[in-house]
């Protein structure tokens, strides 16, 4: 997030750095191409019969995480530079909460589901016979 360069006041309107703009265009275009490649791979992997079916879901998840990374770096401009430390730390904390919420929910609900099975089977026995 190069807020420094972008958010600054209307200082150097005539002195706009052509080189910086060209580099910015290059960064967005590379990001777009990478995102297109990853998206195309995802859609191909989901529909092709060539891949080992049980592994495809995991592969799709990996591709999605990779594409999110591409968007973060090339579109939102998260970098490892010193002006980005706070942003990266906030992102790391956000990712931790997201991981806890998603993985924790899936784990607990799968566990509950497995433990509830016998009683639903009993219910079915009652209703069927």
């Amino acid at each position: 997030m190069s807020a420094q360069t972008r958010g600054n006041s209307s200082d150097s309107v005539q002195g706009v750095n052509r080189k910086a703009l060209r580099f910015g265009f290059f960064v967005y275009t590379v990001g777009l191409l990478l995102a297109i490649i990853l998206t195309a791979t995802s859609f191909w992997a989901a529909s092709t019969p060539l891949l080992w079916a049980p592994g495809v879901s995991l592969g799709l998840a990996v591709l999605a995480v990779a594409q999110m990374g591409v968007h973060l770096v090339f579109f939102i401009h998260i970098t490892t530079g010193p002006d980005n430390t706070n942003n990266v730390l906030a992102l790391a904390f956000g990712l931790m909460v997201v991981t806890l919420v998603v993985a924790g929910s899936l784990w607990i609900m799968a566990n509950l589901n497995a433990n509830m099975m016998p009683s639903t089977d009993l219910m079915n026995l009652h209703t069927q016979y």
């Binding site: 995102a35 995802s42 998840a61 906030a90 956000g94």
Partner: protein
């Protein structure tokens, strides 16, 4: 010589941040909005978790494999990805203080966002017409909550973009407008990141099982 005499406080890189005064407002605003976006993503993660738990709870109703159309999702994905790219080009136009480039990129971004919403709404209408309404099953409740929430975000993003363009027309590239435009571009890129999760988890993985 004591340690205190050897220690030059002004040269300490950990302490000299205060010497520069508070961070510029552009940095503070961008950071605050970034925190908001992360909290929005945390909210989405809870909805994602709900969907993942309920994905198979179809209650005898239609499943994802029967409802989803991959071509339609590919069109939606293309629209949103390209609009994220043109939003980036708009940021460059703003950086160059180039009004025409900014308006053109904003118009394309807006049109692609509208196209995305149109395809999504026609998908929803088609599902409702087939009886796949939110109250049909837990799976469909979770589906409409997740995808609908993202669609609402896109709708608000479009409204925001229109307001920002009106501000550029009337106020020009002044500092407050530049900060808001920067926040909008962050918002729009974040929506595309969430869509990557949706097309993968809901449509691609969902249609397989």
């Amino acid at each position: 010589m004591t340690m205190a005499a050897l220690y030059d406080e002004a040269a300490d890189p950990l302490l000299d941040t205060a010497a520069d005064g508070p961070a510029p407002k552009a940095i503070v605003v961008a950071y605050g909005f970034w925190i908001f976006l992360l909290s929005d993503i945390v909210m989405f993660s809870a909805i994602f978790a709900t969907y993942a738990v309920l994905a198979h709870a179809t209650a005898g109703g239609p499943s994802g494999a029967q409802l989803f159309n991959e071509t339609r999702v590919l069109v939606e994905t293309g629209c949103l990805l390209l609009s994220s790219y043109t939003c980036g080009l708009m940021s460059l136009g703003i950086e160059a203080r180039h009004r025409v480039a900014t308006y053109c990129a904003a118009a394309v971004t807006f049109a692609l966002g509208v196209a995305f919403l149109a395809v999504e709404l026609s998908e929803f209408a088609g599902m409702v017409a087939r009886g796949a309404t939110p109250e049909r099953s837990a799976f469909l409740s979770a589906f409409f909550t997740l995808v609908g929430c993202h669609g609402l975000h896109v709708t608000f993003g479009l409204l925001w973009l229109a307001v920002m363009m009106a501000q550029v027309v009337t106020k020009g590239f002044r500092d407050t407008v530049l900060r808001r435009l920067f926040c909008f571009s962050l918002f729009w890129h974040a929506l595309d990141i969430i869509w990557v999760g949706i097309f993968t988890v809901v449509y691609l993985i969902g249609a397989r099982s």
